[in-house]
Each structure stands twice: as C-alpha cells, then as structure tokens.
C-alpha cells in the first residue's frame, strides 16, 4: 500500500523534474545556438558568453561559452581565445572541413570533441569545458579547459603510518587517478568512467587490473552501479551503502581507504576500486573480514613485527568485544571462577557503589562512546580538553565519589584502548560489546557464548560480491594462510589470494629451485 503510493509520487516527480534536452534541436546560426543555451542556463550569472572572430578576408564568426570559475583562464586564453582571434583565414573552407580545420590548425587544447548533443554540451560547460560554436555549423566543439583549485596532496588524516608513502587522495578524481596510475604503469590497469546522480552528475571511475580481477565481480559491480537512482552522490558512502552486501550488518562488506598505496595493493590482489569525484575516500571490493586486521604498514616493515602486530590486532578484537561481558558475567554469576584475591579486591571496590554491575558497565560504555564522539568532531585543541575532562572527572572523581567502582573504569578503558587498534571496526565493536554485556547480564558466560555463536554465524553467512566474508579463516592451505593471521615474508608469497583472484594467480615465481 505504502509502496504503491511511494512509487506513484516518485513517477510524478520524475516527470516534472526531467530536464529532457534530447528533443531540442540545435540550430545552425550562431544566434540560434546562443539563445537556446541562454534559455537553458538562464539565471546562472557565472556563465560567460563571448563572441569573437577570426582575421582575414573570410573571417568566421564564433562564440565561446564557459563557466568562469571552472576553467583555467590562462589555458583558455591561449588555446582558444587568442588562437581563434589571431588566425587569419584566406579561403573559406566548407562547413565540414571548417570544424576539422579548427581542431587541427587553430585550437591547441589537448582534448577536443565534436558534439551536437545538447545534454552533453550543457554537462561539459558545467564541468569546466569551453564550448566553441561556429556560425553556420550545427556541431560545436567541446574543448577541455578544466582547471580549478584542488586541495594539495597531503598525508591522510584517517590513516597515518610511520613507514610508507605519505600521499593521500584528494577530492579531485583526476588527481586521484594520477596517484594510482603513477604506481601501476601497466596496460592492464583499466579506468572506466561513468556518471552517477541525476542532479550532481558525479563522475565515478571503476578501476581494476584486467586479467587479474575476476570479470564476474567487475560485471556485478557494473550492474549494481547501473541500478543506482538517486539525485546526488556526495561521497563514496552513498554508493557503498547502496551496493553493499548484507546491508543491515554493522560490518563493512566494501572497503574504503584514503591511501593510494592501499588501493594499488588491493588492485594487484584482484580487487576492484571505485573512485568518486569529490571525496578522497576510494572504495575497494570485495572486502573480506581479515582486511580489518591488515594494515598497509604490515607490508612495508619487517614481517616478524608485522605478524606480531597483526596477531595483536586479532587479540584486541577479542578483547574489545568481550572484556565487559566477561567481567559482568564473572562478577554477577561466576564468582567462584575468579581467584580469591581478585574476588576480594573487586568486592572491596564495589562496597558502597549504588549501581548494579550491569548498569555500571552499560553506563561506562556509553560514557566512553560519548567522550570518543565528542573528541572526533571538535577542533583539535578543544578535543584534547575533552579527553582530559573525560579521563579526570569521569574516571578519577567518579571512583573517589563512589559513583562507580574502579574495576569497571579499568575494564572500560582497556576495552576502549583495545578497540582503537581496529579503527575501521570501531562502530561495529561498540554495538557488539553492548549486546554481549546485555546477554551476559541475563545468562552469564552462557549468554556471552550465545552471543559469540550468533556473531560467528552472522560473519560466516556474509558474502561480499560472491566472496565469502570469512574465506580462508579456516583454510588449511598454507599458501592462503600466508597473509591472514601472520604476514609471511614477501619472498614466500607466491600467489595472490585465491578467494578473489580466479585467473592470473601467480604473484611471484617460485625461484627456490
């Protein structure tokens, strides 16, 4: 019922909003064309209409149209404006050859296309191209003069590292592509552009290694992208949410990163990247669970330390999800499972504290999340104040005033610190541990184990673009385990991950013989 009404409204809206330029015929004369464009772009004062002429006896009347703020003015002046105005035309060429003459002899820009598609022309103007219209010719020239200020390439804030490249993606898709292309100079690397968003017409680029990436995954991604129908895409998060598998799961099934080296590493492992104009975050897919634990730095530093820190991250996943639940179940159900000394000290700390342990745990987890959230969106100088106030006031003072007990502060702090080892999983972790605490408060360790089982079942049931989310976790294949819980030395990693790559599996020839 609701669905039907919703569809009805959407259809109506679509009909109203659809700026259908396809039916508009482009005129021959300059005046026709200018007035037509002016009519479509009416009210936009940022658009510059400039009439000009070539020199010589058979001078040709032209007009250029561009958006002031989007074009590189110097480039436009040199390659279009001056070029046209300083050309002297002796013999009047035919209509057909005039365009070619302009393209070949006059305009000196790198990319020029002929077009009489009004939709395309409008789009180009609004994306920083210059339109050159010639009197008496139906087709117009679309000249690439894009040039606007972009943020400089700098170290990505969300993923800092000690060893490794310091470059991060920017908001410009062209810069981002250059960052990837510069690292992989192989003809196999393909970039495939398309537009998403009815109004924003955001440029999106599909990027994969031909022959390494599974064709089925590329095809599936394209079909999913084609189904997207939305007015605007402002960030890859929009796309991620609309095409991801297991949409209700707190876990990611599509990876995102700000680092070009990470994207290149994943491309070489047969994954597909999706770059979107306007955001430094690039999607990579398929995404499997173990990628949460793989940091780019693992691959740059000594493999022993890399393996150790990866094991540490896996341990901290367990700690960050389970410590509060285990604490609650031990203290409220299984006091006999703790050593007597621990029972005594926890019992001492709880004397005079009014709240039950479960409520204490839930309140402290909530407080921790509040402090964390407060720190994220504040400007850096204030952010530090928040953590000091949070740690001192809520930690020290609350314990001294016997509002909460000291062990639960320790438990929460430890849980929080553990979860910081997995920055990409923070959100999922904070949900899981609360669920676990609630289960533990009903049934003790029994309930906690139920939670763990449910979580395992959920994780195992997820697939990301046809690849099992937990693939290789339980594999007995030595080659596949080399980049799972540990990171084997590079001279031992012969194959790309088999779960993702289907064809060109060999990463490195075995040269041991």
């Amino acid at each position: 019922m609701f669905k039907f009404v919703k569809n009805l409204i959407i259809d109506e809206k679509k009909r109203e909003n659809n700026n259908n330029y396809e039916n508009i015929e482009i005129g021959n004369s300059l005046e026709d064309k200018i007035s037509m464009l002016k009519k479509i772009l009416t009210g936009d004062d940022g658009i510059v209409y400039r009439r000009l002429q070539t020199k010589g006896p058979n001078s040709i009347k032209c007009s250029i149209i561009f958006v002031d703020s989007l074009v590189d003015t110097r480039k436009m002046n040199e390659s279009v404006l001056r070029a046209v105005m300083e050309t002297s035309i002796e013999n009047k060429p035919t209509n057909r050859s005039t365009l070619d003459y302009f393209i070949e002899k006059i305009v000196s820009a790198g990319e020029i296309t002929k077009s009489k598609d009004v939709d395309y022309i409008i789009g180009s103007i609004l994306y920083g191209d210059t339109i050159l219209m010639i009197d008496g010719i139906k087709e117009v020239l679309v000249i690439d003069t894009k040039g606007w200020k972009t943020r400089a390439i700098c170290e990505p804030l969300s993923e800092s590292n000690v060893r490794g490249p310091r470059e991060g993606f920017t908001e410009s898709i062209r810069v981002n592509i250059s960052l990837i292309r510069r690292r992989i100079r192989s003809p196999k690397l393909k970039f495939n552009f398309r537009e998403l968003g009815r109004e924003t017409k955001t440029k999106v680029c599909l990027c994969y290694m031909n022959g390494i990436a599974d064709k089925k995954i590329v095809k599936e991604l394209i079909t999913r992208l084609e189904k997207i129908d939305i007015d605007g895409i402002l960030e890859t998060g929009y796309i991620e949410e609309m095409i991801k598998d297991a949409p209700y799961s707190p876990f990611k099934t599509i990876g995102s990163t700000e680092r070009p080296d990470v994207v290149c590493g994943r491309l070489l492992e047969g994954r597909v990247a999706l770059i979107c104009d306007g955001t430094p975050f690039v999607l990579t897919l398929p995404f499997i669970f173990i990628e949460y634990f793989q940091a780019n730095e693992d691959y740059y530093k000594n493999y022993i330390y890399a393996s150790a820190s990866r094991l540490l991250r896996i341990t901290s996943f367990f700690l960050a999800t389970s410590i509060p639940a285990i604490y609650v179940s031990l203290v409220t159900f299984h006091q006999e499972m703790m050593p007597t000394e621990l029972v005594m000290s926890i019992s001492a700390a709880q004397q005079g504290v009014p709240l039950p342990t479960v409520v204490e745990a839930l309140v402290m987890l909530l407080v921790f999340d509040i402090i964390r959230e407060a720190g994220i969106r504040l400007p850096a100088p204030i952010g530090q104040t928040v953590s000091i106030v949070g740690a001192l006031v809520l930690g020290q003072a609350a314990v001294d005033a016997k509002v909460i007990s000291a062990p639960i502060v320790i438990v929460t702090a430890f849980t929080g610190i553990s979860s910081f080892l997995l920055p990409k999983m923070l959100d999922a972790l904070s949900i899981i541990r609360v669920v676990f605490v609630i289960l533990a408060s009903f049934l003790g360790l029994y309930g906690y184990i139920f939670g763990v089982m449910a979580l395992s079942i959920h994780l195992i049931s997820i697939r990301s673009f046809g690849v099992s989310y937990m693939s290789n976790i339980a594999s007995l294949n030595g080659q596949e385990e080399k980049d799972m819980f540990i990171r084997a030395p590079w001279w031992k990693m012969y194959f790309r991950p088999r779960a993702i790559v289907k064809e060109d599996i060999v990463r490195k020839e075995d040269d041991s013989e």
Binding site: F333, Q335, E336, T340, I346, S347, A348, Q351, T357, V399
Partner: protein, 381 residues
C-alpha cells in the same frame, strides 16, 4: 507480518520472563574463607563456625574477618541458621580451610563431612585439618598478625608445606578417596593453638591417623617428614644428620630431588614390601670445621645420612604397624596394582595382615653440591 510479531514477542518474553537467573552482586555476598565443625558434648548438636572475610576500603584494602558460630541439629541446619547471625546468605566456593574437631574425628568423621561433600558450593579441593586438644572453633578465633584472616594464613602455611614437611596437605576429595579405599588409611594434618602471652596463634604440625573414619593416633612433625618421604609426597626438604662418624658434628642436608618407590615382591613365598628411596642432596650447613666435600669424608657423610634416614623411615613404619595398625602408606594399594591376584586373596584380612607384613627399606643418598661454599669456614691458620 503476524509471524514476525509473534517471533518478536517470543524473543522479548524469553528474555524478560526468565528473570535474572542466579544473578547476584559480588558486594552482597558474604565470602566464607574458613569453616570449623565442633560438637557440643552435652546436647549432641553440631557447632558450625565460619570465618567470613569482608574486604573494606577502595584503595587500601583491609580484610575484616568476622568469626561467627551457631549450633544446629545437623551441619546444614547450622549453616542455614548462620543467616540469623550474619544477615546474608553465605558464599562458599572461596572457602579454603575446613577444620574438624578431635571429638568428631574420634566418633567418626562422616556425619560432619557429608554436607560439605554433598553441597555444590563447597569446592572439593577445600583443605581439611583436624584440631587437636582444642575446639575447632578456637583455631578460627585465634589472632594472627601476618594476615587479617586466619583461613588465609593457614592456607598460606599449607601452600608452603614442601619447604617444611611437618604436615601433609589433605584435600576433601583426596581424603574421601582414602577413606573409601581399603588399601590405604586416611590421614589429616593436625592443627592446634599455641598461647603466647595473651595471643592465641594457630599452628599446623603432625599427622592425625584414621582407621576408616575414626581418629586413632598421630605422628609428630619429624615422623610426618619420614612418612612423606615414604609415600613420595616429599620432593625436597632439609634433613639434619647428627654426630657423623662419631665426630659430634652435625650437617644439614638440603635435598632437591627425592624419589621413592614402594614395590611389593614375593621373596621365597613371603610378601615383602620394598621401599626404595633415592635422594639428591647438597650440604646446606655444617656446624663444625670438617670439610665434608673431601672424597673420603663425603663417603662418611653419605654413609651416616643413609643410616640415619633409613632408621627414621623404619621407625615410622614400625609405629604405623605396631602401634596403630593402620596402613597410612598405602601398601595395600600398591599390592592391589602390582599383584592383583595376591590382593584378592588378602583383601578381606588386610587389616590384620598389615601388622605382620615385612618391609625392606633401601635408601641411597648422593651428595653433589655444597651450596656457595666449597670449604667450611676456618679459624685463622
């Protein structure tokens, strides 16, 4: 849609209606750390005494222990009546020590042990002791400076048993095993109080010997040491060897590895239990100036130690056989495992047979080290 609603209600109800099964806050528990069982001779009621340790203070934790006791018709009855005095239910899993009075032990220990064995909250590895010459509750009521809780103090003492070896560590489960086994007589460590000035201090020393579940006699601390060597529970320890080779000097041997084996054998149609003890020792202390690491002297020392230790072992066996007629060493079990056919024959009359069984003690001692000094301290040449 209807199905979903029903499913949702089922889930919510299954969570809400269960209540908090077994949910109890730690701070609301009265943690029992020690228990003593006495019997009132006049009316035959049991007197159960518990030590409840409550930690106080958030930063500097002080253990405050309260000892409360009450009479009841049975042990369980008394345990429940304790709530009248304490106000809260008692929490048993952390109880360390269970003391049974001598009076109960003489009459038979089973009635007192049934509750602790049957109840789920008391652990099977609770330590059992027998109070000697005093009421069991007097021990928990003693004063101890080192620990705030008597039970913790006694527990620590028993943890350090390997270094002292004046008593044996008996757990509830091992004691019950020994009672129910025919081939071994149960033993318990003995505890009593020492009055020094106005302070009453508990001490553990010696072994109480049982026949079935009745207390019949005891070994003192030194005898217990030998007893522990025979049953193989002594792994290390110190042994003072006196008057070596008539020199009048004493050497203290510190042993790091003691192996002992009880092996019954048929020799000429007669059952002989052979006890073989191997000991690695080092010289821990010399009271005189003789250098016993010298080859000849070392032989002498080894010889003397072998003689003396062998004598001690033989004395203990003799005492068990003749004085108490109680197979505390588990000879019966060894026969059962090594000669099952033989055991079937003698099982029914083992209690009488044990007294007459021949034993052969073989001790070998090797002195290998002399701690940090290679030669004893000398007076100026």
């Amino acid at each position: 849609m209807m199905k979903k609603i029903i499913l949702l209600i089922t889930i919510i109800l299954s969570i809400l209606l269960t209540g908090c099964w077994n949910y109890r806050e730690l701070k609301e528990l009265s943690i029992v750390t020690g228990m003593a069982i006495d019997k009132n001779k006049e009316n035959g009621k049991y007197i159960v005494t518990v030590e409840i340790t409550t930690p106080k203070g958030q930063k500097d934790i002080n253990m405050i222990s309260d000892v409360i006791s009450i009479e009841g018709d049975t042990v369980f009855d008394a345990v429940r009546l304790l709530i009248l005095k304490n106000g809260k239910r008692l929490y048993w899993p952390h109880a360390k020590i269970l003391i049974i009075s001598e009076d109960i032990a003489k009459e038979g220990i089973f009635p007192a042990l049934d509750f602790v064995n049957r109840d789920a909250e008391v652990r099977a590895d609770i330590r059992i002791l027998m109070s000697k010459d005093c009421n069991a509750r007097n021990i928990l009521q003693g004063k101890e400076k080192i620990h705030d809780s008597i039970s913790f103090h006694m527990n620590d003492m028993m943890d350090a048993k390997d270094a002292v070896q004046y008593f044996r560590d008996a757990r509830l489960w091992s004691f019950l095993n020994e009672i129910s086994s025919k081939g071994i007589a149960p033993t318990l460590p003995k505890t009593f109080v020492i009055e020094s000035g106005d302070e009453v201090v508990p001490e553990i020393n010696g072994t109480a010997i049982f026949r079935e579940d009745k207390y019949i006699g005891e070994l003192d601390g030194l005898e217990t040491k030998s007893f522990l060597i025979i049953i193989g529970e002594a792994k290390e320890g110190i042994y003072v060897i006196k008057d070596i080779g008539g020199s009048g000097e004493s050497v203290t041997l510190e042993s790091f590895g003691i192996k002992s084996k009880i092996k019954p054998e048929m020799v000429n149609g007669q059952l002989i239990v052979k006890i073989k003890v191997e000991m690695d020792a080092s010289i821990g202390e010399i009271t005189g100036i003789i250098d016993f690491m010298d080859d000849g002297k070392r032989k002498m020392l080894e010889e003397a130690s072998r003689e003396q230790i062998k004598k001690r072992l033989e004395d203990v066996i003799k005492k068990a056989q003749q004085e108490y007629d109680s197979d505390i060493f588990g000879f019966g079990n060894e026969i059962k495992y090594n000669m099952p056919n033989m055991w079937k024959e003698i099982e029914s009359e083992w209690d009488d047979k044990f007294k007459e069984i021949k034993t052969e003690v073989d001790v070998s001692i090797q002195i290998k080290r002399s701690a940090l000094l290679s030669k004893p301290i000398k007076k100026g040449d």
